[in-house]
């Protein structure tokens, strides 16, 4: 199995490298200097030439590429025009927020999705299953940001149950000790995480229901019933353990969805994560920040998929034991 992990790791590194290359070429195509197509009139040609030399843009392209690669490898993603500090610093502030949001959403996605899927499979083709199935289909068809707005309207504006944006209340947190501020932060996290988690859970539930139904039809489930086990134990231990294996793949698929969904949900809830940063940066014409967020997002998706594959291999005794 270790050879397989090495191969899988190499593939992941190649993908990230390809993403870096792609951003480099996009940057290059767009001009990639303060003298790009933008504001050309305002910069004198001599200044432009000097700047090009200063940024190394007069060098051959492969040399620029090498330099870019070297810089990215060292965590140097350039300077943010808008925030006037290294991009990596801006990302460092935004990334934890995104990770907290995506992590919580993932938790909601899978606990809720698995529970619903198992419940639906246990009541297959009866009223509860059909009603939940259609509800899941509808939620799965909603634009994530719109669901966010609807939840915001209902729970924030009408019921005043939750705050309407941000990660915490700066005034409140300044007066409280850090422990109480955690509560406030969780309070702010609730709606955005629920929005992202619900849409994910709808997809997870559909998948989990199908996986459970497939397992329930198998012979070993009948064996478990013939043993005199409670139906609950048959479903939650014997069937679910088998149906969870394919769901690990779903775990890998959830990462692109979460990273993408986070962009819009962060924007709706003014949650200063990477997506929010990227959209703000677009407004500020700050393309080093935008490209850096794209790079980091690709990296997160790749790492997520890698993790899912490794966990899958570790969880399935048919793979684990044979390979050992």
């Amino acid at each position: 199995m270790s050879a397989w992990i090495v191969r899988r790791l190499a593939a992941a590194i190649a993908i990230v490298l390809a993403a870096v290359t792609l951003t480099f070429f996009l940057l290059h195509l767009a001009g990639g200097s303060p003298c790009g197509q933008r504001d050309v009139q305002s910069v004198a040609p001599e200044v432009c030439a000097r700047l090009r030399a200063q940024f190394g843009l007069d060098r051959p392209i492969w040399e620029q590429y090498g330099k870019y690669l070297w810089a990215v490898l060292h965590g140097d993603l350039g300077q943010s025009f808008w925030q006037r500090r290294p991009v990596i610093a801006a990302l460092g502030d935004a990334m934890p927020n995104t990770l907290v949001l995506a992590g919580t959403a993932l938790l909601i996605d899978f606990t809720l999705g698995l529970a619903l899927g198992v419940y639906q499979a246990a009541r297959a083709r009866r009223f509860g299953d059909i009603a939940l199935g259609n509800a899941a289909l509808f939620v799965n068809s909603m634009p994530t940001f719109w669901l966010g707005l609807v939840l915001l309207l209902v729970f924030g504006q009408w019921l005043h149950l939750v705050p309407v944006g941000g990660t915490h209340d700066p005034v409140l947190c300044a007066r409280l000790d850090s422990l109480h501020c955690v509560g406030d932060r969780l309070w702010h996290l609730a709606l955005p995480a629920l929005t992202l988690g619900l849409v994910g859970a709808a997809a997870t539930a559909r998948y989990q229901r199908a996986a459970m139904l497939e397992v329930i039809a198998q012979d070993f489930v009948r064996t478990a019933r013939a043993k005199g086990l409670r139906e609950r134990r048959v479903l939650l231990v014997h069937a679910l353990r088998n149906a969870l294996l394919p769901s690990i793949t779903l775990f890998g698929l959830a990462f692109p969805f979460l990273v993408t969904g986070a962009v819009l949900v962060e924007w709706v809830f003014a949650w200063p994560g990477m997506g929010w940063l990227a959209v703000m940066a677009i407004g500020q014409r700050d393309y080093p920040v935008v490209t850096a967020t794209a790079l980091v997002a690709s990296g997160m998706v790749t790492v997520g998929n890698l993790l899912a594959d490794v966990v899958y291999a570790a969880a399935d005794p048919r793979i684990r034991v044979r390979g050992a």
Partner: protein
């Protein structure tokens, strides 16, 4: 005679077909008994309702699409299994009545060790601690003849061969010392040499543990060596039942005759087998549309008008006690027709 351990009366298990277009009468009025300590062979071609009968006993029929019709009656140790509450039924499943299935490859859960799967029933039914249950699992593996049981107990099913897995299934079924073991085609999926070993094992365990065995098979040869009594099923009904010796000496139903004629005997030479292995023409009809009259008449060499119109009841063949040998065939009323054909 002793009281039967299991008494099945007029069992009817029907299935609603896929698009609700019809009803498959898979088991349609089956009655038989199993006595303590005996081996009963349940024989018939595939599609004649043997497996559904055995699943009905433990109420393992998936509902929907299946259901056991009201009026059916399955009595075990004096209680009707069909009216038990789920909780009482669970106390019988795997404990008083255990079952092993045809496919050892798919009947074991791939993500648990065989030890866990064997121990589970002991934990649930006898309240053993995990450690004692594990020790019991090792004991059971040894009992069913698996080498290195202390090591094998931690293996997963995919690490074992088909024969080994069937042994594990048997160990799992017997861990609570059931009074009745239902074995549904336990050897069909296995190699011929392994088949004999498994049958031998079942035979030995039955004697050692003093349980009754209901052996379901399509192979009369298997029954001949192991069963005390035989029930022959066709098209959802019991067509003949008798003690094994009596049945093989005097098969009365044309279907039983046909089954016997298709068993290759050890003493026939291969060259002879080709010519003489006569199987019954045609196949079991669909359970949604059993033929009218005697259900076997379209395939029966003796059939006459009465067979096409009127379904025969179980008739007593008059060997020993009443009911010891019964046959669902009009030939019993007009035996001259048999000799006329022959």
């Amino acid at each position: 005679m002793t009281e039967p351990l299991l008494r099945v009366r007029d069992l009817k298990t029907y299935f609603v077909t896929e698009h609700g277009s019809g009803t498959a009468r898979a088991v349609d009025g089956v009655s038989f008994e199993v006595y303590p300590g005996e081996t009963l062979g349940l024989v018939g071609e595939s599609g004649c309702g043997k497996t559904v009968t055995s699943l009905s006993i433990l109420r393992l029929i998936p509902e929907p699409p299946g259901h056991i019709r009201p009026g059916s009656f399955i009595e075990f140790e004096g209680r009707n299994l069909l009216t038990l509450a789920p909780r009482e039924l669970r106390a019988i499943r795997g404990n008083r009545i255990a079952m092993i299935f045809q496919e050892p490859m798919t009947s074991l859960n791939p993500v648990f060790t065989v030890g866990d799967q064997i121990a589970e029933a002991a934990i649930v039914h006898q309240g053993l601690s995990r450690r004692r249950a594990r020790a019991r699992a090792v004991e059971m593996l040894k009992l069913v003849g698996i080498p290195d049981p202390a090591e094998r107990v931690d293996h997963y099913p995919h690490q074992m061969s088909g024969g080994m897995r069937q042994r594990v299934m048997i160990a799992m079924a017997l861990v609570c010392h059931p009074k009745l073991l239902i074995a549904d085609e336990p050897t069909t999926a296995l190699d011929v040499t392994i088949q004999a070993q498994i049958l031998e094992l079942l035979d030995r365990l039955q004697r050692d543990l003093g349980m009754a065995v209901m052996l379901i098979t399509h192979d009369l040869g298997v029954v001949a060596g192991t069963a005390d009594r035989v029930v022959v099923m066709y098209a959802g009904e019991v067509v003949e039942q008798a003690a094994t010796g009596e049945l093989f000496a005097r098969p009365l139903h044309p279907y039983t005759e046909g089954l016997m004629a298709s068993v290759p005997r050890i003493d026939t030479r291969v060259s002879q087998v080709r010519g003489r292995l006569h199987s019954i023409p045609g196949q079991v009809p669909a359970a949604t549309a059993w033929p009218a009259g005697c259900r076997f008449h379209p395939r029966c060499p003796y059939a006459w008008d009465r067979c096409r119109q009127e379904a025969p009841p179980p008739l007593d063949a008059g060997a020993g006690e009443p009911g010891a040998h019964t046959v669902r065939c009009w030939l019993l009323t007009e035996p001259q027709r048999r000799s006329a054909r022959a």
